[in-house]
């Protein structure tokens, strides 16, 4: 019998079988493989089989029957192999993702991995995914992050990018975390804003998925009266999958995923895979959230500790100051009377002495020295008083004007001009009037002392960052940083007691009131004193 197919030949010459292609040359000599791989699907073989049956050969029917069975079994085997391949890929993928999820405590990193895994072709291959998280009080599910294209054009651009970059899933997640997360958070802002679902609503599909602890595939959503229409409108698709995220019975949130662009069917296998994935996702998100909260609490505790330490230091300082204040006040008062008597009698004697009396010089010296000691005492007593401020609401402009008016005579004597620039819109300040007036007076006096040849003092008030500023500057010689430092430290230099103590007291008073006091030398020359007072809170 003449056969059309080459099945009966042990060896075939090259080109002798139309089904053997390039790279399969071994089949020309491998008889068994050629029959099993090529002949059973070859139309020529089928023709030979037909011929065999028609000639009455009973083997023709048997071979035909066996051939059908072989084909069927081979098909089943191939489908099982492909199923096993896909499961193996999935297990590998889940293992890889789980490793990242297990080790990361950064919520954004976890979310990047999760959302990339769901939407990437190398992952679950869904077109879009939305994550909704339960709020702290577990009262609402709120839209937190959406990932995927907004339209077909964007989808093509994303897919082209993916093909060009050829990243692994892990690399894609890292790339997403580093370059896309922030923009992606913004991209679906409008959609996410509409996703606020009360967790007390038992019929809502998202809440139901959480309660029943299983994924729910929503189909025909537009026609389904039980569906939350505002959610469906926000999503813009009629088929989507809701996967609950539950960790140790705690409802963490839900993931909504869909194929809005490709309209590909969501298969039961997709549902099952995502459900498996959701366990590790929920756990990772919960852990990262807890870690984030822990970090927040840690920061708060650290801040409280710093504050506590500052307060402790302040208390110690205040106690020391209060003690110093009491002692100095007591000493000052007991010295004042004798000093006054000495100085007073010296002046009396001086007045009675003749112009050429040689004792005049001694008496003048006693009078002057006593006066200087009295000024030192005045400063010390002010320092003690500053430890007990009497706060009230006052007009700072009025205070500055009053002090400058009071010092007019002295300013004139020393040929110092005082220019005021007051902000008339200043709100009232809560201050101890007497103490702040003392500070302004002391600063103006210090500025005058620094300009023995005369000059100009500018007193300015203005509002700045919640403070009322009183800025007093002169055009004398700028003070050195060491001089400023010595000047603003109470009792820093006992040698110069009386000449620099006043400014140090100003600083103490300001700090005690919760105000700020700065002395600096502006680039234009001279020295600048700045008092910062709090605005009266009732007025703001």
């Amino acid at each position: 019998m003449d056969w059309v197919c080459c099945w009966h030949r042990k060896i075939v010459e090259p080109g002798g079988c139309p089904n053997i292609g390039e790279g399969e040359e071994v089949l020309y000599t491998s008889y068994q493989r050629r029959v099993l791989e090529k002949c059973i699907d070859c139309p020529n073989f089928r023709k030979d089989l037909q011929k065999m049956q028609e000639s009455g050969n009973p083997l023709g029917e048997v071979v035909s029957f066996l051939l059908g069975e072989v084909r069927e079994q081979r098909g089943k085997l191939q489908s099982m192999v492909s199923f096993l391949d896909s499961r193996e890929r999935e297990i590998k993928f889940l293992h890889e993702i789980s490793l990242v999820l297990q080790t990361s405590v950064d919520l954004d990193e976890v979310l990047s991995v999760v959302m990339t895994a769901i939407t990437a072709g190398k992952g679950f291959g869904m077109n879009r995914a939305f994550l909704l998280l339960a709020d702290k009080e577990r009262k609402f599910l709120r839209g937190y992050l959406g990932v995927g294209p907004r339209n077909d054009g964007e989808a093509w651009a994303i897919w082209e990018d993916i093909q060009r970059d050829d990243f692994t899933l892990k690399e894609m997640a890292r790339d997403f975390y580093q370059t896309k997360l922030t923009s992606e958070k913004q991209k679906f802002h409008d959609v996410l804003k509409r996703m606020t679902i009360p967790m007390a609503d038992p019929n809502h599909v998202l809440v139901r998925a959480l309660r029943e602890k299983r994924p729910i595939l929503v189909e025909n959503a537009f026609q389904n009266p039980e569906c939350d229409h505002s959610l469906v409108q926000a999503l813009g698709v009629d088929t989507f999958l809701v996967t609950p995220l539950i960790s140790r019975n705690r409802r963490i949130g839900v993931i909504i995923s869909d194929n809005c662009i490709t309209r590909k069917r969501i298969t039961p296998q997709d549902v099952q895979s995502l459900e498996t994935f959701a366990f590790s996702v929920a756990f990772a998100i919960e852990r990262a959230s807890l870690y984030e909260r822990l970090q927040e609490e840690l920061l708060k505790v650290t801040a409280v500790n710093v504050k506590l330490k500052e307060q402790q230091e302040l208390i110690v300082k205040m106690e020391r100051m209060a003690l110093v204040g009491k002692i100095t006040s007591s000493i000052a008062h007991s010295i004042r009377n004798p000093l006054m008597i000495i100085g007073g009698f010296a002046r009396t004697l001086l007045r009675g002495a003749a112009d050429d009396d040689p004792k005049r010089e001694y008496l003048e010296s006693i009078g002057q020295q006593v006066r200087q000691l009295e000024e030192v005492l005045e400063d010390i007593l002010n320092y003690s008083d500053s430890l007990y401020p009497a706060l009230d609401t006052w007009d700072v402009n009025q205070l500055v004007s009053a002090v400058c008016r009071e010092l007019n005579g002295r300013l004139h004597e020393r040929r110092v001009a005082c220019r005021l620039r007051l902000d008339t819109s200043l709100p009232p300040a809560r201050i101890d009037y007497k103490q702040v007036a003392y500070c302004v007076r002391t600063i103006v006096n210090a500025a005058m002392e620094g300009m023995p040849e005369g000059g100009e003092i500018r007193a300015e008030t203005r509002r700045e960052n919640g403070w009322i500023l009183v800025e007093i500057s002169d055009n004398g010689v700028a003070l050195s940083p060491e001089r400023i430092d010595a000047m603003t430290t109470p009792f820093g230099s006992t040698e110069e007691l009386g000449s620099g103590l006043g400014v140090a007291i100003c600083k103490t008073i300001m700090e005690k009131h919760g105000n700020l006091f700065e002395v600096d030398t502006p680039p234009g020359g001279g020295t600048r004193y700045i008092i910062k007072l709090p605005v009266n809170r009732e007025e703001t």
């Binding site: 009377n337 006054m340 008597i341 000495i342 100085g343 002046r347 009295e374």
Partner: protein
């Protein structure tokens, strides 16, 4: 010329004030305690009292209240080493307030001002 009463527990201060105020042409009497001052006010007429706040074991402010109550037209100038009493409302009853200083100019000015107000 006015008749002044200086009340201070410190004898040197009484002496200093007496001399200085006498130099300004006033007739000055002194008292070391509140009781002595009350006695003197009863005995003779004064135009002004210069009163220390911290007297030995007693307060000049109590004496001030007594004077205001009984002799409301007799002016009082408080003269003290403590500037803080200026904010004490019981000190507001006084006609003047001077912080003690070796330079008596401020006290003398205040005496002049208060007497002028009284028409003396």
């Amino acid at each position: 010329m006015a008749r002044l009463l200086v009340v201070d527990d410190e004898s040197s201060i009484r002496l200093l004030y007496s001399q200085e105020l006498a130099d300004d042409g006033h007739e000055v009497a002194t008292a070391a305690t509140a009781a002595e001052a009350v006695e003197k006010i009863k005995e003779s007429e004064f135009d002004l009292i210069v009163l220390d706040i911290k007297l030995k074991n007693e307060s000049g402010l109590d004496l001030l209240q007594k004077v205001v109550k009984e002799r409301h037209n007799l002016p009082v100038i408080l003269c003290t080493a403590f500037s803080c009493f200026k904010d004490d409302f019981s000190a507001w009853l006084a006609d003047g307030y001077v912080v003690k200083s070796s330079d008596l100019t401020e006290l003398k000015e205040e005496v002049k001002r208060v007497l002028a107000k009284k028409g003396k």
